[in-house]
């Protein structure tokens, strides 16, 4: 019962602030609403007993990526851009197509719901961080190293892109 209340609270918070993020005129407001969505998702992770990801979500997404976004918004923000039309020419076609995509996946879930496994039997290990670290450094050793190379490449790419004269 408590678990359900937590889920519905964070789910409504996440969806509502996501809608506000997409529709706001001011980019800074959009960024703040995206932060709210990400924090609500962190709450969902905690409700799913993924404690390590809960902390990673807050530190990395909210503390890292969103601060980067807010910095770039500060560097490029134009007061003129708030007075322009915020949606492009194909907005109605694009919105309808996106909603049709959503309805399609919804129908697929409705049809296939009987094939999902029964959730009540499984229990997670109480040592979540230890289990994640164990999987990350044994089974996923090579992907982990590749991810570090990816981050190095992204770092060099970002520096090259943001430099004035290369």
């Amino acid at each position: 019962m408590f678990s359900q209340a937590v889920f519905y609270f964070f789910a409504v918070l996440a969806v509502a602030s996501a809608i506000l993020m997409v529709t706001r005129r001011n980019i800074v407001h959009g960024a703040v609403f995206l932060i709210t969505t990400l924090l609500a998702t962190a709450g969902i992770f905690l409700q799913l007993e993924a404690e390590f990801l809960f902390v990673v979500q807050i530190i990395l997404y909210v503390g890292g990526i969103m601060v980067l976004f807010v910095f770039v918004i500060m560097l490029v923000n134009l007061d003129v851009s708030m007075r322009l039309v915020q949606f492009n020419h194909q907005r109605f076609v694009a919105g309808t197509l996106a909603l049709i995509l959503g309805a399609q996946v919804f129908l697929a879930f409705k049809v296939g719901r009987g094939m999902l496994p029964h959730p009540a039997q499984q229990v997670m290990s109480p040592k979540n961080t230890e289990a994640v670290g164990d999987a990350l450094f044994t089974h996923y050793m090579l992907p982990f190293e590749i991810a570090s190379i990816l981050l190095l490449v992204a770092m060099i790419g970002a520096v090259v892109m943001a430099k004035r004269r290369v």
């Binding site: 789910a11 998702t41 993924a50 949606f87 694009a94 999902l116 499984q122």
Partner: protein
């Protein structure tokens, strides 16, 4: 540890709602920064699915995949924002439909 109380459809529906909102944002907005933030929202919706199924199977592999997705999101945000900065310096605009140098 108590077993999971909610059915997996709850998480699938939440993830689907966030994903659809993100797609609408990518397809309809003109501002490039909002488009990039909508992509972050889409990746986040995927993460909810991964963690929900990880909980469903009582297995930690889905969470490891979610960590890799977060890594990719960080790399994508860094490079994307660098491109936006470089573009803004050249053209003084942030609107996606004015980025038409390669169009004829």
């Amino acid at each position: 540890m108590a077993p999971l109380m909610l059915s997996p459809e709850h998480y699938l529906m939440l993830s689907l709602a966030l994903f659809t909102i993100g797609v609408i944002g990518v397809l309809t907005r003109r501002n490039v920064i909002i488009i990039l933030m909508s992509i972050e929202l889409i990746l986040n919706a995927v993460n909810i699915n991964l963690v929900a199924f990880s909980r469903l199977w009582g297995d930690v592999n889905g969470q490891v995949f979610a960590i890799f997705v977060i890594t990719d999101a960080a790399a994508e945000a860094a490079v994307g924002l660098g491109i936006i900065l470089a573009f803004f310096r050249n053209r003084e605009t942030l609107l996606a439909d004015e980025m038409d140098l390669l169009k004829w």
